[in-house]
Every structure is written in C-alpha cells, then in structure tokens.
C-alpha cells in the first residue's frame, strides 16, 4: 500500500475544522495549525444564524430560491455553480449541525426554528440564540477533539503560519510555522495544505473582526504567487456598536426579529429603511442598509444628537421574546453601553465586517498552486459583490465539506511523496523566515509597527470602504507606500526571545500593507458600482466591462528576491491585475433592486 499523506490545515474556525473532519473521515491524518486554541477562532463572533431552505414555515422556500437570493444579493459577481451547490447542501448541513448537538432554537413541535434575515422574504435562518457561530464552532471543535483523542489529528495551537513551501515544480509541499511562545521556527511536510485563515479585518484597524484576523496567511501566500481575487469587495455591516478598542457587531438578526432603524426627522421618528425600501424594509442587504445610514448621517445630517449613530430599536418587542432569541447580543450591548436594549433603542453605526474577496479557488477549493487549498472567508468563491447575512457560516462549512474529499482525491495522484522531497526545499524556506526574524530583532529605527498599523487602518477605513472616489483611492495607495517606506525604519524595543508580540506584529504588518494595496488598487480600477463596491462617479453596474472576477498577482521587483521584507531594495513589488470571465449560465443577470419585490429568474 502506498504511504499515506499528511494534510495540513491552517486555521481552526468553521471552515478549517470541517475540512479537518472530512479529511479524517477520508482516512487521512491532519496537522491542524492555529494561532489561538481553535475554540477561540473568529467564527465565534457570528451571531445571527445559518441559512438553509428547509422550508418549515410553509412559505414555499427552496434551495433554488436561496440560490437566486444569494446570486442576486451578490449583484452577479459570483460564479454560479458553487453557489448553487452550496444552497443545495444547506439543509443537510443544518441537519448535520443539529445532530452534532448544536442547541438550535426550536418550534413548539420540537423542530428547528428559522428566522428572517436580510435579502430574502423567507424564514431561512436557523439559529442558536444570538451566538450561532460560537455554537456551530463548538460542535465542530468537539468532533475534532474526538479525532484528536483517536490520534488522527495533531493540533498545533499557538503556532502561526509563516509561509508556504513549494518544490521545484511549484507544488505546495508544506508550510513554515512558528510557535508564538517559544518562537521556534520549523517546517512541516504535507501532501496538501488548506488555508482556512479567515478575513483581513485588521487591515482596516477597527472592525467587527477579532484582533487575530490580520489576513497575514492569505497576504503572504499572495506574495508567494497565489492569485488574490475580488479583493476590493469588502462588506461593511450596517449595525455595529462604536467602541474604543473595536466595533462590536450588532447582529442582523435584531432586524430579522423585527428591529427597526430610525432617526429623528421633523421631530418625529423616521424609519428610513422602511421608507426608502418598502419591499424589504429593514431587511435590505447589508451594502444597501450601510449606504442608507451614511446618507442619513452624512448627507442629511440626521445622526442622533449630531453624532455618527442611528437607532436600532427593539423596544417594541416583548422582552421575554428578545431574551430567548437574541439574549447574547442584548448582553453585549448592555455590558458595553450600560443600557438595556429591551427598553431603549440601541445606537449603532456601520463597520467593516467581511471580505467577499480572497484567495482564488477552483470548484474543488484548490488555488492556482497545486496542493494548496483555501476554504472559508479566506477564499473568494461564493459571495460575489455582497454577502447575504447568515450565508457565511454556511459557506465556511460548505467549503470544508468540499475541500476534504478534494484533498483526498488530490493526494491519491501525488507522484513523489512529501517525505521524498529534497530536504533543501524545506531548509531554504525555513532560512527565509529565520532571516526575517533576525532582521526584526536587530531593527532599532524610530517607527513603531503598532502605530503604522493604526495609520493603515485609518486611511483604509476612511477611503476604501463604503463610498469610493478615485482620487481618494490614489491618495490611499500613496499613503500605503509611505507606510511601507516607514516600515524600513521600524524599531522593536522588545528584544525578548519568548512570546515577543511586537516582533510578531511587525512581521504581519508588512504583508498587511501589501494586501491593502490589492484592495485599494483593485477598487481604483473597477469603475462601476456593484454590491459593496460603490463609486458615486460611476453609479451603475457595468456588466459588459466588469461582470468579471478581479485577479491580483504579485509581481516582485528584480531587486527584491527572497529578501523582500528587509527594506534593502528601493522599490516595492506591486499587484498586477487581470479579469476573469464568470459563469452566469444558471441565472441570467438582471438589475438588483430592493425597493420593489424581486423578480424571480
């Protein structure tokens, strides 16, 4: 019998855990890497629920209807076949999660309950209170622990992915990783690698993302030749609680359960979403709601008490109902704001939330590097120009379910086992990362990487989110280049050889700057408005020119070589852009409007 292959999964959120489980079930052994214990992954932050057309409310819902809502909600930018497949698998995925013990809310008959969410007219969202992501993550975490107890999974928690290892043929053969406590750097061989490292929220400084979501793994892979697709499509969630340290999500489920958004106009409450979008009201998709809030606050000057906030009001709904269905988010609001949302309206404002773009993958979740797969938010494949609420938990589990068997199939056809690959391939990869750490240990310039990161976040949030102007995008790119220059003069006061967080942050920051350029220049080049990407100077969708996937590939300058990061060269590499046709063969593109009922395909 042929020697079996190990699989590496990087990231232990929903997508990574599902890929791990599927790989184990296919008879493979998995090395699972995560910077935090996997149970603390960012999936915990998903609140509202998971979509699947189980149709228990007699509304005539179906996977086809879910598919149409998702493609329409994504403003016709996604390749349609994987979206269709995901929607078809969705009811089975929800049943599976129920079998795993997720405490979903239930109907009087003991069946799964479903609630409404944005961009649909159906009750399609299964939920466990208002911490559904946490509960789904725990269920998969438990199953992976079961495999771990059986010896099929080795966990490397507290380890950070540093880079891919490619052989001479350009095939992915493993990774370099570092222990964040001991700072040991070593290589790991594998038949295949799956990145499940989530989104790049920290590129925008404050967002709804966890602080661990730097986007480093995706960004570094891009520097190593992986295509980055649709980077400019960043979802800004309409309702978050502004905060000093982060912008905390206030789930769309608040509106799904009847929450209304309003401001004061002419001395009376004005329910602006209901007024502007009578067909969908408070449950328009996120990009629409976010732009409406910006209009009300910035253009009309109707922010509450002159501040950049609007009301999200639940106080008309019985408190007991709210506690059962939304308890977790009510607690968050009360703990951080000191007010009870069952009694007074919440004050909210939009915040960066999700990246529709990510690493390019084929329909088997494999990137353009053979042997490298990507799953979950880090892959670009499902959500087009705007993600519908409660489709992210679904797409993460879906991607993991697809990737597991794809990886097993890929590994069957590997000709040279990873253990037979010359050790020089691995040693030279480790040497690159050792040199980087040595450089950072010596760095004694005047710049603080946390300060550079803060400035990056500010410029990205100001210019590359809700409303985009080309001159501002050009300005932002210049600012990013300035930050890259200043990165050369970085200083790290902490000379600790143990759990040195300043050093870890600096290492991440360089690649975050590179990824910020992919997002910014991608937005600059797309002269149209589609989903979350909105340019007032180009207000219409332009299907002829832009119904295409944006592909960014890194082009390193000759002087850079493997030493990119040391600031030796005077020039920086840049993204090169190309555009790939998409498959719209299943649902014919049509204008997207939420003031009137959707015309079905």
């Amino acid at each position: 019998m042929a020697k079996s292959h190990r699989v590496i999964v990087v990231g232990g959120g929903l997508a990574g855990l599902m890929a791990t489980i599927k790989a184990c079930e296919a008879g493979m052994e998995v090395d699972l890497f995560s910077i935090v214990p996997v149970k603390r992954s960012h999936s915990v932050c998903a609140q509202g629920g998971i979509n699947g057309a189980v149709n228990t409310k007699g509304e005539g819902d179906s996977p086809d209807e879910h598919f149409d809502d998702s493609v329409y909600g994504g403003d016709f930018l996604a390749n349609q076949p994987p979206v269709k497949r995901m929607c078809e698998m969705a009811p089975g995925i929800i049943y599976l999660m129920d079998r795993l013990g997720v405490p979903f809310n239930r109907t009087p008959e003991g069946l799964l309950d479903f609630r409404r969410f944005g961009g649909t007219k159906h009750h399609r969202t299964a939920f466990a209170g208002a911490s559904t992501g946490q509960q789904l993550l725990y269920a998969l975490d438990e199953q992976v622990r079961r495999f771990e107890a059986e010896g099929k999974v080795r966990k490397f928690e507290g380890w950070e992915f540093l880079g891919l290892i490619k052989d001479e043929q350009g095939v992915c053969r493993g990774i370099v990783a570092t222990n964040l406590f001991s700072m040991e750097i070593r290589h790991f061989r594998a038949g295949a690698v799956a990145l499940a490292t989530g989104g790049p929220g920290m590129v925008f400084g404050k967002s709804t993302n966890s602080t661990i979501n730097s986007g480093y793994a995706a960004a570094y892979s891009y520097l190593q030749g992986v295509k980055y697709a649709n980077g400019e499509f960043i979802q800004v969630h309409p309702t978050a609680i502004p905060g000093e340290d982060k912008l905390r999500l206030m789930s769309e489920s608040a509106r799904g359960e009847g929450g209304r958004m309003w401001v004061v106009r002419d001395g009376k409450p004005w329910y602006f979403l209901e007024d502007m979008y009578p067909a969908y009201g408070n449950l328009v998709p996120r990009d629409i709601a976010t732009r409406a809030i910006h209009k009300v606050v910035y253009d009309m000057g109707l922010g509450i008490n002159g501040q950049s906030v609007v009301y999200l009001d639940l106080s008309h709904i019985p408190a007991e109902t709210l506690r059962k269905k939304l308890g977790a988010i009510l607690d968050i609001y009360e703990k951080f704001m000191g007010e009870d949302p069952t009694k007074v309206p919440m004050k909210v404002f939009p915040a960066v939330h999700y990246s529709m773009g990510g690493l390019w993958v084929d329909y088997d979740q494999m990137t353009n590097i053979p042997g490298l797969f990507a799953v979950g938010e880090v892959d670009y494949s499902i959500h087009g120009a705007n993600r519908l609420g409660a489709n992210s938990l679904l797409s993460c589990i879906y991607a993991g379910m697809v990737a597991g068997p794809s990886i097993a199939k890929y590994c069957k056809n590997i000709k040279t086992h990873e253990d037979e690959v010359a050790s020089s391939v691995f040693d030279s990869a480790v040497a690159v990362h050792n040199r980087r750490v040595d450089y950072l240990k010596r760095a004694d310039g005047p710049e603080n990487s946390f300060q550079l990161g803060k400035e990056l976040g500010e410029v990205m949030t100001r210019n590359v989110t809700v409303t985009r102007y080309n001159n501002k995008l050009i300005e932002s790119d210049a600012k990013i280049l300035e930050l890259m220059e200043r990165f050369k003069k970085i200083g790290i006061a902490d000379k600790g050889e143990w759990s040195n967080q300043s050093l870890h942050h600096a290492r991440q920051l360089y690649t975050m700057l590179q990824l910020a350029r992919v997002i910014t220049i991608g937005a600059l080049k797309r002269d149209e408005s589609r989903g979350a990407h909105y340019k007032p100077d180009f207000p219409d969708r332009n299907d002829e020119k832009f119904m295409k996937t944006t592909i960014a590939q890194y082009k390193a300058p000759a002087s850079e070589g493997a030493d990119a990061f040391f600031g030796k060269g005077s020039e920086f590499g840049s993204p090169e852009f190309s555009y790939e046709a998409i498959d719209v063969s299943m649902i014919k593109p049509r204008p997207r409007k939420y003031d009137v009922d959707k015309k079905s395909s």
Binding site: R40, C45, P103, D113, I212
Partner: protein, 250 residues
C-alpha cells in the same frame, strides 16, 4: 475635569517567563469614555512608557473577539478573574491592578497556558458520538425548553474564570473543575449524547471527579456567562450517586 483626572492609573504584573523575576510596572493612560482594559493595553503597545517616564516593552497579553464570546482575554483585574474586554474603566477602582491567572503555567506577563482545560474536555468525552458527517437526515426532536437549557450550558467559552476562583483546582491537584463537569451535563442532556451518559458519569466518578468539589460556590459567581455551574455539579453528583447504587444493587 483636571488633566490629573483625565488619566487612568494602571499597575501591571510583569514576568518575562515562568521562573523569571516578577515586578510591577505602573502606567498612566489617557482616559476616554467607555474605554475598557483592552483599550489600555492597546495604548501601551503604542506608547510603552511607565508612569515615571521610563521606556519599557509593551506588556504581553492575549485577546481575540473583544466581545466576550471567545474566552481569550482572561486576566485577574482588581483581584477578580474576568475577561479584560468587558472590564470597563468607569466601573473599576484605580489604580487598576492587572495580573495573569495563577492556576496555569505562566507564559509571559498576562499570558498563561490554559491548554489543560481542553484536555479536561477530552477526558470527559465532551462530544456526541455521531456515525459520520454524511447526510443522515434531521437530528432528534426535542423541546424548546431543553434547547434553552442546553444553550445556557453550551455558552461556556473555556475562559477559565471558574477554575481560577476554585479553591480545589490547581496545577498540583487532580480536580477537573466546574467547566468540564458542566460539559458532562450538557452532553448527557442531548438525546443522542445521552446514549453515552453512563460512560461520562463513570469518568467523573473517579479521582479528580465531581466528589472533589468543595462547594465553595466561587465558580458560579465569577462565570462571565452566568452558567449555572453549581447546579450542573449538583445534578451530575446526584447522577453519579444514582449510577453507583445501580451498579451495586443492580
């Protein structure tokens, strides 16, 4: 408000690594309304300077979600084990004293290694023994009442506050603590999980199990998610007694 009042006084316990000397550093951070302990620690990353103007390294600390669902940013703040993200400056006496948990191996400054908690979950088999993840149709039906009870227990984010506060728990003791016992109750209450209820009870009947609880009831007071931990311990304790009788008398 004078400029003096606009500063937040903080004291942080510093330790390079396990066994290294311990010292305390004092800091002053600019006050902003609604700020939490995380905002203080973020400020120190930008300006790692002590109250007496000495340059230092930013304290090492861990955080992730910052909305109290991930369990990462556990620290002892003014003597109480809790999450730093929900520790609002306005509600804390100053100087704010921040220390790492004491019941786990220290990594650096405010970071400890809580891996042992996940080992406890393995010990008590905190999972449902499913046949596989292939499509097998809907799960078992159960009531909304049970779903709500299970949800409450299932909110445990393995933060470790209960263990930090428990007199019976420590690096030198066997007791698996309230969080793992609560998981036994969670899985034994699920229609499929109940099929392995006896196995889980046998595990917590042994050394380090439920009988090691000293009934101090600290756990339930510090749990940030208000999980009824003492109720879980009492229920599992009764269930183990019942099982023991059944084993003896058939």
């Amino acid at each position: 408000m004078t400029s003096k009042q606009a500063l937040v006084e903080v004291q942080i316990r510093r330790q390079e690594k396990e066994g290294a000397p311990i010292h305390w550093e004092s800091f002053q951070v600019k006050y902003r309304s609604n700020m939490n302990v995380i905002a203080i620690l973020q400020d120190l990353q930008l300006h790692p300077v002590t109250s007496d103007g000495r340059k230092t390294t930013p304290p090492a600390w861990e955080a992730a979600c910052l909305e109290e669902v991930c369990g990462t940013c556990s620290m002892v703040i003014n003597g109480k084990p809790r999450q730093a993200c929900t520790a609002l400056v306005d509600q804390l006496e100053q100087p704010i004293k921040i220390e790492p948990f004491s019941k786990f191996p220290l990594v650096r400054d405010l970071i400890v290694d809580r891996n042992r908690m996940f080992e406890h979950l393995k010990t008590v088999k905190a999972w449902i023994d499913i046949d596989g993840t292939h499509d097998l149709g809907p799960g078992p039906r159960y009531s909304q009442e049970l779903a709500l009870d299970r949800y409450k227990m299932s909110e445990c984010m393995t933060c470790g506050c209960c263990l930090e506060s428990c007199p019976q728990y420590g690096q030198d003791t066997q007791f698996i603590g309230p969080q793992a016992i609560n998981q036994v109750r969670l899985f034994n209450s699920h229609p499929s999980g109940a099929m392995n209820a006896g196995e889980r009870l046998d595990i917590v009947m042994g050394e380090g199990g439920v009988q090691d609880c000293g009934d101090a009831q600290n756990c339930v007071k510090v749990c940030p998610k208000h999980i009824p931990l003492t109720e879980s311990i009492a229920k599992i304790s009764r269930a183990t007694t019942g099982r023991l009788f059944k084993k003896i008398f058939g």
